[in-house]
């Protein structure tokens, strides 16, 4: 990480500390020293520490986004580690997992090391690399998962592509089990999703766009669950998007299988009707596609009830040249790091659908558990990663002011309430009032 040297001590005073890992939701002071959490309690004295007044704010463990595309190496005009991690800091995230579908892909230990080295130079938040499951993301031969795990890969995924071959997935789970890392699968049966650009349903019928059935996702989720049962390997379903997926996850959970899942803010808050409402605006084009209102309702319930334990953005920055084209030709993806928190607070917390504790849990302790990280809590002694959120702050989404190079968001212009206002990474303040300081 770019942040070097000893940070000055910080006393974050009087905020609403929400740390689900410790079961804390109370007005407390938080003292950070030497890059660690020193103390959590009432009436702490500054004792030389710089004081941050946090009255009325949420003080939460630094948010973890386990699904981010940083585009470096290979597509730095879309995003790079410097811009992507600054976007993360602006969005309140202190840890991001970098997906391996870069060019070249991260499919061996030297590539994992290269990402870590670049991050050490330029990143302003923690970057944890995800290694590829198969060589070249081709879905054929297993990549050297053991080497990558040793080099620091926290999980394995061919994200961007599903692992279409069931035998390859079975081997990946069997082999990967030795390293205790989950296989993150982008579940989508290629034969059912071919040429599809949006969700298959009423709106694809009206718009005349090729639709992807919910079943394209569900058949592969079902397969992965069955293979997890066979192998005992950990499966993590990337960006779950359908009601059927939720049902399958519920069954897997009832059976006690090591199957986890994440959902993105946009799949929790937007529906396929938006493609119609925005008249084919390619900023609505994302993979998996925005789904129906019934799917969104099921995902919200699943998140609230813990069937889905993680919110991840699938931050997918693109250059405008890849979006300012006809709908079918446009790249899939939404730039998500800088809108995740306000979108979720506006749509899910202020509406009473989920509590602040649950939201924070799904963005801190939830991903930490899936990836076996020590982060995601304010427990004394842990790394001083902290996010302050002002639940009442109202602002419009202004993509032109994003730190991400990807301005591709269908939320442009939307008024959202509940923004991160301070991001602390290992004791260093990296963002204050929306401004990234490093």
């Amino acid at each position: 990480m770019k942040l070097r040297g000893k940070p000055e001590p910080l006393l974050i005073r009087g905020g609403r500390v929400i740390d689900p890992a410790q079961g804390i939701d109370a007005e407390l002071d938080l003292l950070l020293e030497d890059g660690r959490v020193k103390q959590l309690g009432h009436g702490l004295e500054p004792d030389g520490a710089r004081v941050v007044e946090a009255r009325g704010l949420w003080v939460v463990p630094g948010l973890i986004d386990m699904h981010v595309h940083l585009r470096e190496p290979g597509e730095e005009w879309k995003e790079d580690i410097a811009s992507g991690t600054r976007a993360a800091a602006a969005g309140g995230f202190t840890t991001v997992c970098a997906m391996p579908n870069t060019r070249p892909p991260v499919d061996d230990a030297p590539m994992v090391n290269s990402v870590l080295a670049r991050a050490a130079e330029k990143a302003v938040v923690h970057v944890l690399p995800v290694g590829a499951v198969t060589r070249g993301l081709e879905g054929k031969e297993l990549a050297e998962m053991g080497d990558m795990a040793e080099a620091g890969a926290v999980a394995f995924s061919d994200d961007g592509h599903p692992i279409a071959d069931a035998e390859v997935m079975r081997c990946a789970l069997e082999y990967g089990r030795m390293f205790g890392k989950p296989i993150i699968d982008h579940c989508q049966d290629p034969s059912l999703s071919r040429e599809a650009v949006m969700h298959l349903g009423y709106w694809s019928t009206v718009l005349g766009l090729r639709g992807m059935p919910a079943a394209a996702e569900e058949v592969m989720v079902a397969r992965d669950i069955i293979l997890s049962r066979l192998t005992g390997g950990k499966v993590h379903i990337a960006h779950a998007s359908t009601r059927g997926t939720v049902e399958l996850l519920r069954q897997a959970r009832a059976e006690g299988l090591p199957v986890t899942a994440e959902v993105t803010p946009v799949h929790l808050c937007l529906t396929d009707a938006l493609v119609h409402e925005m008249a084919y605006d390619t900023r609505t084009k994302v993979n998996p596609p925005l789904r129906s209102a019934e799917d969104v309702a099921a995902l919200r319930l699943a998140l609230a009830g813990g069937i889905i334990g993680v919110v991840a953005t699938d931050h997918a920055p693109h250059h405008q040249d890849d979006k300012e084209v006809e709908y079918n030709y446009a790249a899939f993806g939404i730039s998500g790091l800088e809108t995740a928190v306000p979108l979720l607070i506006t749509e899910l917390v202020h509406t009473g659908i989920i509590s602040p504790e649950i939201l924070v849990e799904r963005m801190t302790a939830g991903p930490a558990r899936v990836l076996s990280l020590s982060a995601g809590t304010l427990r004394v002694g842990s790394t001083a990663d902290v996010t302050l959120i002002d639940p009442g702050l109202e602002k419009a989404v202004e993509p032109e002011r994003f730190y991400s190079k990807g301005k591709n968001t269908p939320l442009a212009g939307r008024l959202l309430r509940g923004w991160p206002v301070l991001t602390v990474v290992a004791g260093h303040i990296v963002m204050r009032d929306g401004e990234v300081l490093v």
Binding site: Y202, S204, T205, L207, N328
Partner: protein, 309 residues
Amino acid sequence: MKLASRDILSLEEMPREDIELILDTAHSMKEIIYRPIKKVPTLRGKTVVTLFYEASTRTRTSFELAAKYMSADTVSIATATSSVQKGETLKDTARTLRVMGSDCVIMRHPVSGSCHFLARVLDIPVINGGDGMHEHPTQGLLDMFTMREKKGRLEGLRVAIIGDIYHSRVARSNIWGLGKMGAKVVVCGPATLLPPEIERMGVQATTRVEEAVEGADVVMVLRLQLERQQRGLFPSSREYSRLWGITRERLNLAKPDALLMHPGPMNRGIEISTEVADSPQSTIEDQVTNGVAVRMAILYLLLGGGEEK
């Protein structure tokens, strides 16, 4: 009278009053087509561009004749395109058209929604000449014009649309247009060619052609794209023609004075029997003539109508 919208992108978005205005205007335009000298000065000095990313001699010629009968200049740009776009982007092409001073662009494009995209980039009227599987609004209007001309009304008509509804922009435009004008639409085709939740667009859907045709005032047959057969959406054109082809026997289930329509070009013997296609009930040739009249009306209303009144 003026149209509510600057562009003609879809009949879904077009208000009923605009549809009526276009159909009424087309009525007086049709008379010009039958004159010995088919030329009125209405659009003199205006330049109309046809931008076709997909071949369609029929639609393009129809628009060009419409423009020429009203003394507009026409420029046609035919662009070969593949699914991987090469060279100039649509956005760049649009900018070029704008700086060249064209007054209106008619676009045919293989991707749904591309006319919406073009209309966002351009500040001159854009007319959708067919976009992907989405809509073909001028075809829908000429179909409605033909029905109204022959039947005297649209309200209460029962219209059966038979064929590949899934991929048909003609079907979508007719569904919205006819629905707004109070007709009842039944769509019919193999289950693989009926898109999901089509009933929510206000139609009845069936896979049984007899059920669709029974009692219909209009039987509209769509062109079957034979490459869908390779994609496995139906097994063979032989079976298609046996199960969904419109024959004399099937047409007899419709009202005795039912109209038979087809947007052309036809696969004779597959979706439609020659006997039926050439029968007096067939309006296929009228549709072509009416296409010019409707397009004249649209160009007039978009480019000239506002100024005169």
